[in-house]
Symmetry: C2
Subunit: 234 residues, 2 copies
């Protein structure tokens, strides 16, 4: 619990639980969603988690548009189908990992129509410079992504599934949602209750590919000495 | 606990704890870091949290470079000072919110030298198309940001401070770390034990600015009807 201006101290059980939630989070698709509406309180909690995200210069450059209307969802789904055909054509042209085309074509990649709640997340750029964004202009977009990751974890902790659909034409989505010209689509999310959350990821492009070694070193120079002194990291 | 291929079910206390960790997370600067080295086990846990992040097409396009060497940190800090002078010049030119210049100049904005561990996080783009990234090319960068947000939350749960320094020239950082040409700097992180983690954010650009209302609606058309039926969201 907070003491004066000091934040809470967490114990190792707290930290372990956080890791368990992170580890259990999955990208949920239409084959898992149930049609039941989400409780308003749960939706509020997921948005509250978004607002706890860091944002560069406290700019909070996010905008969330909720979509429950079937007609709107169908228009979005149309964009998915068109973009997915383009993707398939790319992969059929041999530009995809060998032997994965068939697996890809069988995958359910989104849950736009099956999930009761869709949320389009936009970046709303500021007029004029933002503290912390003057040298790295993408920082505002990255703040929005931090909010999305908070939503994803919060949804999972509420046993609610969330999927991020990125096989969409962002300009078409803007048009469908009548977004102002300067907004930029960062993510299109599908949320709903699930029959189950799988343990394994939906998709591993190569069966031989595992979790990456987490850290590496570029520097071939003397400056690397201390970094190399942590062999378990490097 | 997992049942067959099903992930764990979390209770409301679990979800509340997650929100408490999210709420307690802060961007930590040099005025808070202690010089003590971090335990190797804690560092490993923070990297493990990064690897639990979602990545588009399971591409895991992240690379983490740990920096503990004083000389390297000083080179990075030089880039901060140069970029921060540029930022100050922008703000002095009246392009910043009125009355905030003095406050800005007094702010401690980074902890490159004060924190025992710096981590540069790079995006390592794939050759050829990635599933889920063919229509939205920034998805790989956003996957890296999801990993960073996981690190931030995990660090906070371990009572470790983390700050994201974005007032840096990303090309200079690449050069200092001898990163391959195709890598892109997403974040430069400072981690360490802290004397305390403040409750309030370091920086609010306008004292009148509060947490944003979380959701809004663009559509002025009939498609909005159901969305507007959730008055507490819109």
């Amino acid at each position: 619990m907070p003491i004066q201006n000091q934040g809470p101290h967490f114990c190792s059980d707290d930290s372990d639980l956080l890791s368990e939630i992170m580890s259990a989070r999955r990208d949920v698709r239409g084959n898992r969603f149930l049609a039941d509406e989400l409780a308003q309180e749960d939706i509020e909690q997921i948005f509250a988690a978004a607002l706890m995200a860091p944002s560069v210069g406290f700019s909070q450059p996010w905008e969330f548009i909720t979509i429950t209307n079937r007609t709107t969802k169908e228009l979005i789904a149309d964009s998915f189908f068109i973009e997915n055909e383009k993707a398939k054509a790319l992969f059929q042209a041999g530009k995809f990992e060998v032997g994965k085309l068939e697996q890809y074509q069988q995958l359910k990649l989104e849950g736009i129509l099956e999930s009761p709640l869709n949320i389009a997340v936009f970046y709303n750029p500021k007029n004029g410079p933002v503290l912390g964004q003057t040298s790295m202009p993408d920082m505002g977009r990255y703040s929005v992504v931090c909010a999305i990751q908070n939503m994803w974890l919060k949804a999972r902790s509420l046993n609610i599934g969330m999927g991020w659909v990125s096989i969409l034409d962002p300009i078409k989505v803007k048009t469908i949602l009548n977004a102002p010209q300067d907004r930029e689509l960062i993510a299109y999310l599908c949320l709903g209750k699930v029959d189950k959350v799988s343990i394994s990821p939906n998709w591993k492009p190569s069966s031989g590919r595992k979790k990456r070694h987490h850290s590496r070193s570029f520097f071939p120079t003397a400056t690397n000495k201390i970094a190399l002194a942590h062999p378990s990291i490097h």
